[in-house]
């Protein structure tokens, strides 16, 4: 008798509650959903429509213009090239950090390095970009020192060109790469490497043949996120780059605020958005079908 009483008690109270406020809990789902649709997804659809419709009705004119005019193709090419170069540089710089984090024994140092990575991730993008513009100027810190030491006699051109853009963007995107790499490397069983070395493999060989392949899912996800974010960068290239470094975001902004060409800006946005989601979809597809890149070691 007692047992059944205990078991039925919660059900009674639950029914009691659901009678009092039926369906209220679904608001948890509905309110955020409506909010994001109203403020983001519907507006995006509305703006993207403009690339197919203008005063004259349906047209593919704007998309065609982007994909045939050399001027626009050049901007697209620079965007892809810049994002790619930034991805490569961040990968090369982040891998040692993530690797050291994994093999390091001192928990205190680990916490310090991760803390620095997290704080730099959150420090204002404008502040970091501004700081680079001060450092890289003709009479900035780097040029000043190099000239004082008589290594160079003319200031190096570090700003308003590729060097400036890539340095700034690398600095800003580096934490994403470190965290992506670290989250995968953390799960690698280091005993595998010990085993390989125990059986006579040299440290370098055990790294290349065991650790590195196991870290590939992190390389993949980190590179992808940095590349995708890099494609959409706006502030840093605009402030550290020159006329030859115009990326797609800047072109979109100019078309909205200077020439008021919403249709063209919309068509450019479609290209940017489609590239972003194709790449993300591709990564998802690979992670599903390739066991090596699957990410659950």
């Amino acid at each position: 008798m007692e047992k059944t009483e205990i078991r039925t008690f919660p059900t009674i109270s639950q029914r009691h509650v659901s009678v009092r406020i039926p369906g209220l809990k679904w608001l948890l789902l509905v309110i955020p959903l409506i909010y994001t649709f109203l403020l983001l997804y519907f507006p995006i659809v509305n703006v993207l429509k403009l690339s197919f419709y203008d005063q004259t009705g349906f047209t593919l004119h704007y998309l065609q213009e982007i994909l045939t005019d050399m001027l626009y193709l050049k901007v697209l090419w620079i965007t892809v090239k810049t994002a790619f170069m930034v991805t490569v540089v961040t990968l090369v710089l982040s891998y040692p950090i993530a690797y050291l984090l994994v093999i390091m024994e001192s928990a205190k140092m680990k916490k310090l390095i991760l803390g620095i990575v997290m704080v730099t991730l959150w420090i204002s993008l404008l502040v970091r970009t501004f700081s680079w513009s001060v450092i890289l100027q003709d009479h900035g810190i780097i040029n000043d020192y190099l000239m004082k030491l008589n290594i160079i006699h003319e200031p190096l051109k570090l700003l308003y060109n590729n060097t400036g853009v890539i340095t700034g963007m690398t600095h800003i995107l580096l934490p994403y790469m470190v965290l992506s790499l670290y989250s995968v490397m953390e799960r690698i069983d280091l005993r595998l490497i010990q085993a390989a070395q125990g059986m006579g493999a040299r440290p370098w060989r055990s790294f290349v043949q065991i650790f590195f392949p196991l870290s590939l899912p992190g390389v993949m996800s980190g590179s992808l996120i940095v590349f995708v974010l890099g494609l959409g960068y706006f502030i840093t290239p605009a402030l550290l780059g020159g006329q030859d470094n115009m990326m797609i975001s800047k072109l979109i902004q100019q078309n909205i605020q200077n020439t008021l060409n919403w249709n063209l800006a919309s068509a450019l946005s479609i290209v940017l958005l489609a590239t972003t989601f194709l790449l993300l979809g591709f990564a998802y597809w690979i992670s599903r079908f390739s066991p090596i890149l699957k990410g659950d070691n």
């Binding site: 809990k25 403020l39 507006p43 390095i113 204002s124 970091r128 450092i135 900035g140 959409g232 902004q253």
Partner: protein, 256 residues
């Protein structure tokens, strides 16, 4: 050893450009030299006395606090929905909630600018808060969801079986248990808004220039050393938020 030295150099590359701002902001010169030949507080005085900077700072703080409150409430709702409710398409819902992290910010910016024009909320505090909240909700959602995952669901069941209503259970049991992730989420949302510039370039207008907009406009025209003082303030605020934030939750903020 080689590894440690290279990591040290790379970490220097990460930290130096941030730390260098601090001595520069106390410089007595108009041009930036490092180390500065003399020190003064003139740029901080400038910041304090110049209306454009102070108004920008006040507006940014108002918008950032409203954004933090709004997006924390909505983000908690969305994460509770994922955790408590069973519904088809849960994965799609989660993707829709985090997508603003990967949607190019410029696209989100022009889309909101376009739609907000119909409701005449461009160039208002409301418009700025709404647009910033869209960028902050994913961060809150991910952070709180991680917090909920680490919670023992039996505690809620226990409360409910003792007669607590779902709402009572949330405020008396769930919320205290996930308190630290909620606080972190709110702080992240606050910083996101404080630093937002891409969307704000469109939504803000002559009456609503947030601090980042004032910085952006100054950087493009002339280099006013006051920016170094503003930067130092922002660096200190962000670092302080981090030191006081309970538990460094690994949330990735995406998209600038």
């Amino acid at each position: 050893m080689f590894l440690r030295i290279s990591v040290f150099l790379i970490m220097t590359f990460m930290v130096a450009p941030i730390l260098i701002m601090i001595p520069l902001s106390f410089s007595s010169e108009v041009a930036f030299h490092f180390p500065p030949s003399g020190y003064s507080l003139q740029w901080y005085q400038n910041l304090w006395n110049d209306n454009q900077w102070m108004e920008g700072l006040m507006l940014s703080l108002i918008v950032a606090v409203s954004t933090a409150i709004l997006s924390t409430v909505l983000g908690i709702m969305a994460s509770l929905a994922v955790r408590k409710l069973e519904f088809p398409g849960k994965k799609i819902f989660m993707n829709l909630m985090v997508a603003p992290m990967v949607i190019p910010v410029i696209v989100a910016g022009i889309a909101m600018y376009h739609s907000f024009a119909q409701f005449k909320i461009n160039n208002t505090i409301v418009g700025l808060t709404l647009s910033h909240s869209i960028l902050a909700i994913p961060i809150v959602f991910v952070t709180v969801l991680a917090g909920l995952k680490g919670m023992d669901p039996n505690l809620e069941l226990a409360a409910q079986s003792l007669g607590s209503t779902p709402i009572g259970t949330f405020f008396k049991v769930t919320l205290p248990l996930i308190r630290s992730s909620v606080i972190s989420a709110g702080l992240f949302a606050f910083i996101t808004s404080l630093d937002e510039v891409v969307v704000t370039i469109f939504i803000s207008g002559s009456y609503t220039k947030t601090l980042p907009i004032v910085m952006w406009e100054n950087m493009r025209t002339q280099v006013d050393p006051t920016i170094a003082a503003v930067s130092t303030v922002l660096i200190v605020v962000t670092t302080a938020v981090f030191l006081f934030s309970p538990g460094l939750v690994q949330t990735k903020q995406v998209g600038k």
